[in-house]
Amino acid sequence: MNFTDIIALAARNLRQAKLRTSLTVIGVVVGVAAIITMVSFGIGLRRNIIGQALGRLDVFTAMTVFGADTNDMLALRGGRTALDDGEEEDAQDGAKPEDPPSTNSSPAPAPAAARPRRVLDDEALAEIAKLDGVSFAAPIVTFPSFVRFNERTRQQWAAGARAGDDPRLRNLLAGRGFSDENADEVVIKEEFLNGYSDEAFRRRRNRRGNSGGPFRQASDKSDEERKRAAEDALGKEITLYSAPVGDASPTSVFGIPLLDFPSNFPGRSDDGANEVRDEVADRSGFDRYVFRIVGVVKSEDGMGLRVYGRSDFYLPLEKAKRLREANVSPMERMGDALAGHSGYWAAELRVLDPSRIKPVTKRVTDLGFRAFSLANQLEEIERIFLIVNSSLALIGGIALLVASFGISNTMIMSIRERTREIGVMKAIGGSDGEIMRIFFVEASLIGLAGGVMGVIGGWGIDRVANTLANRWVLRQAGQAVRHIEFFSIPWYLSGGAILFAMAISLIAAIYPAMRAARVDPIKALRYE
């Protein structure tokens, strides 16, 4: 008997007992739908979190290198300051206060692993840039500043970037990078424009925060609108208030100490009310620096992975270095002096290709720095998601396991009913193997039907849940957030779930099929 005959026979048998078959199939449908819904949520979560990072073109080649900070230096020196250097060897150690509160200006949370041992200065950076596989290296230079744009002033983090090949300025919506590292030019991010809008200030005044929780998006505008807004911004000027470059910096402005809060630090009072008028600036002995917008970087949207203290605009690197010098806080200046520290807190790195991340990480670490790359973090996150998704699949799998008992039960009942038929088939020449195959095919048809309908059912549940969840998110975020897909059903999930349902069904059919094959035709055919 060939395979199509067996399928036809099996299908016919299933049709003969429609109600029983349907009930059995429903059991499988529930199991498969559970798997699909659970795992598609896990995959969706992974995609929303990791996918955003993957969306960045350079995520697999980007690295950040951290040098020793003031604390590290003081710790390395055993608490002895640079000012102690000239003193006698027997100067008492214990007299110095240990671990002063951090004055580190790094806007990112300090990395947790082994602390760097070496200061990241220009010399070190040159060494790193020469490492095999490194394609780009630039110091991260950031400082807090007051920026006037569109007749409004905000406190913002300024950052420096290289002219030419800086990867941070690559994804431009309009314009170009810097012509020179001393140019009076600025490249802004799209968020910069949004941050100075009427809407943004109204929100800040109402203390609604500037984010919708973990749900963030660049803009609810269309791509053309975004591009037009970016092009309109080109050529406009921003004004940066700074302490006179080369002078000692002031300790405070209107009693607000120049501390290094990230610009979006929760609860920060950078409302529009803090506006500083030019005359005041002039009177206070501050300088005004004017930069012309030459480029607008496109912002990324998505969910999560919001980096704190990101800058919304870049100045040419050398300009930024000098401005930072003038505007760092006195505490930081003091720390640098005590620690003999005159390096950058971190540097931005790019490697030639993703395979270089590991060796470069090792080389950089060997040099005494700490290297961080999202690519390495992603591996960790991926592992967590694998565990989460497996657990979700397991829960769905249990539902399918329960269904498998239903399949066994159905098959055994049907074999009882069809004992005579099995006996006939054997008497007229059907082999044990053929009888067994008929029942295995019956089971896999149940698995296939249940699997396909389960995938459709799971997809339906996802659609409903996604609609409800988006409504909820909209209420929570209180702002226009683009529709978020919480679920994802890739082909391997639906295919895998159907195959799994068929496999479970086959396993459930092993015992019944063997029983069918063992039917004694003489007993089965005995005259009733």
């Binding site: 060939n2 007229i428 082999s431 055919l525």
Partner: protein, 223 residues
Amino acid sequence: MPILEARNVTREYPMKAETVRALAGVSVAIERGEFVAILGTSGSGKSTLLNLFGGLDRPTGGEILFDGESLAPLSSREMSRYRLRRVGMIFQSFNLIPTMTARENVSLALAFAGLSKTERRKRSLELLDRVGLSQRAEHLPSELSGGEQQRVSIARAIANAPQALLADEPTGNLDSNRAAEVIGLLDEMRRRDGKTVVLVTHDQELAQNFATRIIRLKDGKVV
């Protein structure tokens, strides 16, 4: 050389209290083209012997030979091939599959032999024509009379051209006219196609009218 032979065959059923001896040393040889009727009282072992010839059962002692070859060494799969190709079984209760039409019942035997769907359709209609049922091809067994059902089962038995037809009280459920028709059909198969017929029956008259030889069993022995 006999087509079917039983050599000192015993078939015992070990029961709780004692062992039931359905066959106690039976030796018979059936030649090609014979019409053998097996008679005997109820419980004398007629069906047991026929099932051994039909390859549905194996003896506990002695051996069964088909065309001079013992069935003892055949594997379970080879036994099913033997049932498919060598012998055709006909039962008192017809044993048609109730959810299949006459044609589908005949087709099933052809499907086990691996015929294609179109071949099966053609051949099963020919076979039903042979037993005079071409008008009833698409009827379910429940829509056929007893005699018609038995003729369908004969068509099924000869589907894969076996040399021997083994019928276990095929007329037990039929009136005497239908019975004579059915046995006449078997006799025609013997005469026209040279088939060997082994018929288990209680009906002395039928046996005397059609059989070329009568074997009598009593308490599991040939008498």
